[in-house]
């Protein structure tokens, strides 16, 4: 009696004896090791640079001399996003988004200096990462190894003999599948190594495990489709051609076509268009530098009534600071409205592209992988939001100092009177109101539950192909 394990062992022995197969396997494992090392080194440098950058930015802000608080609002602050621990496996969109933002009053700047902008023109695929290797190139190796698992028996004429010896077709197919699963397990070892390394650098264990499982599931889709092609084709060339065609449309064609279709279906305005539109709204909200701007007449009358005085000079607070705070709040509401619209649109675009994952498993996997690694669009948006929170916090803190600690008369005289100008300088100790920025990614559970949506796509693929394989197995005849 033959069991599946023996069939698998035969297959493994056959692969082991083929020099071409071993060269291919060694090449892919070598490449995995190479890309993993290069990516890890790069992420390590980035991480160090940005952590240092943040320390330096904090220090710069805190060591500014005594000065007018509004000057500090324009002096501004920098925040950096340090790479996720799992970025050494899948850096996702990190290279495209920029990792530092300049925070200042009255403006929401975008993240600048995406590293890809300064890099060389690469053409088709961009920098290779371990994630990309698994998504695109490991399947090619699986195809090369696996397309002939059943077909070879047929072409060599050993299939009838095997079946005549009482081997059931399902045992045969299970054994061959086991051979492919063994190969997948071997190929996943380098990924495990990278993830252990990430674990040592603070990645969550459960998330890292989910990453491996996602890739295992993804490669299982490939094993299933390869088995199906091997079961249903008449010739090896034909099976190979079909599988390469599938590889080609899943990895190259459908994702790019999907992105192109989504662009046409959900257009977004660029930043400049948004800025121009926003400018209209902002003009209506008034200029916070000018306390006599008609937009702030209300604040003035209310303040005067509240403190029961006639002139702004007699107010216990500096109306300039009060107006600055009110206008920053109004401005931020407008800016956040535009920023949120933009982010929502970007998210819906990303969702629309990912829905092509129902047609292309690599797209589904890449979405799951980026989500889990914390290198996806949602994480980038989270960074933007947290930076904005910090911006508003220190700007409004400084505005309150402006309102409470500066005399109005000095404030208006300071452009002409040097003594008054000196009195408007606030002690440097006040700058310690700046909060420390440390970007935190979404919780492990949240990331896993989002990734699970993309798992559904992969599970559907495996299930669908498995059913087809089952039918083909039953019809398998010598």
């Amino acid at each position: 009696m033959m069991n599946p394990l023996r069939i698998a062992a035969d297959e493994w022995r056959l692969w082991y004896r083929s020099r071409l197969a071993m060269v291919g396997l060694a090449a892919v494992i070598g490449l995995l090791a190479g890309t993993a090392t290069i990516t890890a080194l790069r992420v390590h440098t980035e991480s160090k640079d940005r952590t240092e950058g943040q320390v330096q930015a904090d220090e710069h802000f805190l060591t500014q001399p005594d000065r007018h608080p509004h000057r500090m609002i324009h002096y501004g602050h920098y925040v950096f996003r340090t790479p996720a621990p799992l970025a050494i496996f899948d850096p996702g969109i990190d290279a495209l988004t920029g990792d530092a933002i300049f925070l200042e009053g009255h403006r929401q700047n975008s993240a600048t200096f995406a590293s890809a902008q300064a890099s060389t023109n690469l053409g088709g695929f961009g920098a290779l990462t371990p994630a990309l290797m698994y998504q695109l190139f490991v399947p090619l190796l699986l195809i090369a190894f696996g397309h002939s698992v059943i077909l070879r028996e047929r072409e060599l004429g050993t299939l009838p003999t095997l079946l005549a010896q009482g081997l059931s077709t399902s045992t045969l197919v299970a054994g061959k599948m086991l051979a492919l699963v063994g190969l997948i397990t071997l190929l996943l070892l380098p990924a495990l190594l990278v993830l252990f390394f990430a674990l040592a650098n603070g990645a969550s264990a459960i998330v890292s495990l989910t990453v491996v499982l996602s890739y295992a599931l993804y490669l299982l889709v490939w094993a299933a489709i390869i088995m199906l092609a091997s079961l249903t084709s008449r010739h090896r060339s034909w099976a190979l051609g079909v599988l390469l065609g599938i590889w080609f449309s899943w990895t190259l064609l459908i994702p790019r076509l999907g992105a192109t279709i989504t662009r046409l279906r959900i257009p977004t305005a660029g930043k400049i268009e948004m800025d121009l539109l926003m400018q209209e709204d902002i003009r209506r909200a008034g200029d916070g530098h000018n306390a006599t701007d008609p937009a702030f007449v209300n604040i003035r009358t209310e303040l005067l009534a509240q403190h029961n005085v006639e002139r702004v000079e007699d107010l216990p607070v500096n109306i300039r600071g009060v107006v600055a705070e009110a206008s920053e709040a109004a401005l931020t509401t407008i800016m956040n409205r535009y920023a949120n619209t933009r982010m929502r649109l970007e998210v819906s675009q990303a969702k629309a592209v990912t829905s092509f994952g129902w047609l292309s498993p690599p797209l589904a996997l890449s979405a799951a992988s980026q989500t889990l690694a914390g290198t996806d669009l949602a994480t980038h948006h989270r960074f933007l939001r947290e930076a904005e929170k910090l911006r508003l916090d220190f700007v409004q803190g400084l505005n309150r100092i402006h309102a409470q600690q500066l005399r109005y008369q000095d404030d208006i005289d300071r452009s002409r009177n040097t003594e008054a100008e000196k009195r408007t300088r606030v002690s440097a100790e006040s700058w310690s109101l700046l909060k420390k920025f440390s970007f935190s990614r979404a919780q492990a559970n949240d990331r896993i539950s989002v990734a699970f949506r993309y798992w559904m796509m992969l599970i559907a693929w495996v299930a669908g192909i498995a059913v087809a394989c089952g039918l083909a197995t039953r019809r398998l005849a010598p």
């Binding site: 988004t97 051609g241 669009l377």
Partner: protein, 418 residues
């Protein structure tokens, strides 16, 4: 001639070949159409932006009536409109900005702002003609040619065929020529059609077409040599050829990229911004004389008018913005020359990876390469310098503000690009 006719008839019965040729045609057609759409939408967006930009400046002019404030509040749109061949290679326009709004403040703080597209798109990559021609075309060549010899061998007809053909090489040559001729037709006809519609300069289209053909011939030679020199069966041959494609289209470019980044390091981008911001902010506390001396070193013509008597004067304000740029200059020049050097080296090394070479060539013909983006940046710097020259004269000579004088203010135009 008769042999070509025979091969055509032979081909018409090869379903796989017909499938690949049809696929090549449809995919190229889609890619070209998508490129045309994108270029069209970039143009119409640019038109709208130009209009909004003008009206934005008009509002500023109505609200303010002194040179300093007008300069402070007026933004100017600069842009690099897509070229007539941009549809074929959208290139770096996705990643590198092709439109900016700038004003009289220190330029270093503004020029690196990017009007970026959704990174979810950028990470997937473009679907344009350049992608098809450089990355997919080799696969089509491989699929069409790999089985020519080995299938005949497998069917046991090989020796017979070579013997009856008299000249064996000639037979495979005709067979491959017919297939690749049709492939070239499938890939180039959508390009030429779209180029005629777009009014692209014919010489550029001819260059682009020749580059594509050259690339095709490279893959022909590769496929032919591998199958001529080995006795491999079709599946092994196909696997080996796909391996070569991986090597040339994916691994070599990636290796070249890594090597270049190591060879030519760039100053950290955020350092430029930090330096510039420190310089500009420190100026508020520095003696005005220090700033003005640094300023007049570059602009000696204003030496006589550089005395500042008020705690705040616009000419001093813009002078320290300028000095901020001057302080950053070494870093920013290093950044620029580094990017230029990376680009040069990439172009020179690209012959090691023909697909990358083709993509570079198409992008440079379409003015969508890194070089084009860098020269656009240069044009922004030139325009900004003109704006400064205009306002400096008004501010330092203390000219009264008039609407007529404002009409002389430089406007950004395409001319800045060349």
């Amino acid at each position: 001639m008769r042999s070509i006719y025979r091969e055509l008839r032979f081909l018409s019965r090869d379903r796989a070949a017909i499938l690949w040729l049809g696929l090549a045609f449809v995919i190229t057609l889609l890619a070209v159409t998508a490129g045309l759409y994108e270029v069209q939408s970039q143009r119409s967006r640019l038109m709208q932006l130009l209009q909004a930009d003008r009206s934005d400046r008009r509002i500023v002019t109505e609200k303010h009536n002194d040179w300093g404030s007008i300069a402070y509040h007026s933004f100017h749109l600069t842009f690099d409109a897509p070229s007539p061949l941009a549809f074929a290679a959208l290139g770096q326009r996705e990643l590198l900005p092709w439109k900016h709004r700038i004003r009289m403040l220190a330029l270093e703080g503004q020029i690196y702002e990017a009007d970026a597209t959704n990174p979810a798109f950028t990470s997937i990559g473009r679907f344009d003609f350049a992608f098809v021609a450089s990355n997919l075309l080799p696969l089509f060549v491989i699929f069409l040619l790999y089985g020519l010899r080995s299938d005949e061998r497998a069917a046991g007809r090989f020796e017979l065929l070579v013997a009856t053909a008299g000249n064996g090489g000639h037979l495979w040559m005709t067979r491959a020529t017919v297939r690749l001729g049709l492939l070239a037709l499938c890939i180039l006809s959508p390009l030429v059609g779209a180029a005629v519609g777009e009014g692209s300069p014919p010489h550029l289209v001819i260059f682009a077409g020749s580059a594509v053909l050259l690339h095709l011939v490279f893959w022909w030679i590769v496929s032919n040599e591998v199958s001529r020199l080995t006795q491999w069966s079709s599946p092994v041959l196909l696997t080996a050829l796909i391996g070569l494609w991986l090597w040339f289209a994916v691994l070599s470019p990636s290796a070249i990229h890594t090597v270049i980044e190591r060879l030519i390091p760039l100053p950290n981008g955020s350092e430029i911004l930090l330096t510039q911001r420190e310089a500009v902010n420190d100026a508020w506390d520095l003696p005005k004389k220090t700033t003005m001396t640094a300023f007049t070193e570059r602009h000696p013509q204003w030496r006589g008018q550089a005395d500042i008597n008020q705690p705040f004067e616009w000419k001093w304000y813009y002078a320290f913005q300028q000095v901020g740029d001057q302080v950053t200059e070494p870093l920013s020049q290093q950044y620029d020359s580094g990017r230029l050097a990376r680009n040069h080296l990439t172009t020179r090394l690209s012959f090691l990876a023909p697909p990358m070479w083709l993509e570079q060539t198409l992008q440079s013909l379409a003015s969508t390469d890194v070089g084009a983006a860098l020269s656009y940046e240069k044009s922004i710097r030139n325009f900004h310098a003109q704006l400064r020259a205009f306002y400096y004269q008004k501010l330092f000579e203390d000219q009264p503000f008039t609407a007529q004088a404002l009409e002389q203010r430089p406007e950004y135009s395409k001319a800045h690009l060349h």
